[in-house]
């Protein structure tokens, strides 16, 4: 397994749904990803299906469908076996260094231990990710030039 890539991020389904329906910390965290073309949101179909179902249940089907269409345009798709935790498995299969979740117990015992033994992912709540994300440092660690600032409209 190759090393996790610090520019690849997975948001578990709770964070994806909260980004749309609540805003706040989830939106602040994902705005960092949306604002930079060199950041990649990684998600399996199962992960998007979980978020889509939650959005349909708490809002409406049309919004859930349009959200799914929009997020599919920019996510990097990964596959994993049925039954794997979609957030953890997307991070592992997608070589993501960051997994955002409101479930602070996700990284602890009981949450898919066989997978976690191989993972280099940092599991953080959205507010922790938003606070600690340093775009300039990350850009300069992964590119040869200076950080040019955000290069994408996070509302586009």
């Amino acid at each position: 397994m190759s090393e996790a890539d610090p520019t690849r991020v997975v948001a578990d389904a709770d964070v994806l749904a909260a980004d749309l329906l609540v805003g706040g910390d989830a939106r602040d965290a994902l705005d960092h990803v949306r604002s930079h073309s060199w950041m990649t949101l990684v998600a399996s179909d199962a992960l998007l299906a979980d978020a889509e179902a939650v959005i349909a249940d708490l809002a409406d089907d049309a919004l859930a469908t349009d959200w799914r269409e929009r997020v599919e345009r920019e996510r990097a798709a990964v596959d994993h076996p049925d039954g794997d935790h979609p957030g953890l498995a997307s991070a592992y299969r997608g070589r993501a260094a960051h997994l955002l979740s409101f479930d602070e117990g996700l990284g602890s015992a009981g949450a898919n231990l066989s997978l976690q033994a191989h993972m280099q992912v940092s599991i953080r709540t959205p507010d922790a990710f938003a606070r600690l994300f340093d775009a300039a440092a990350l850009y300069e660690a992964t590119h040869d030039d200076d950080y040019p600032g955000p290069d994408r409209d996070p509302r586009g």
Partner: protein, 32 residues
């Protein structure tokens, strides 16, 4: 459809992170 459009449409949902977590847990536990 832009993110701005989606966020605007979602403003009426008045849901919470707790409700989202509860609904997701039920789905993943196979309760729904």
């Amino acid at each position: 459809m832009t993110w701005a459009d989606l966020f605007e449409r979602a403003t009426d949902s008045e849901t919470t992170v707790a409700a989202i977590r509860e609904r997701l847990a039920a789905r993943r536990d196979g309760d729904v």
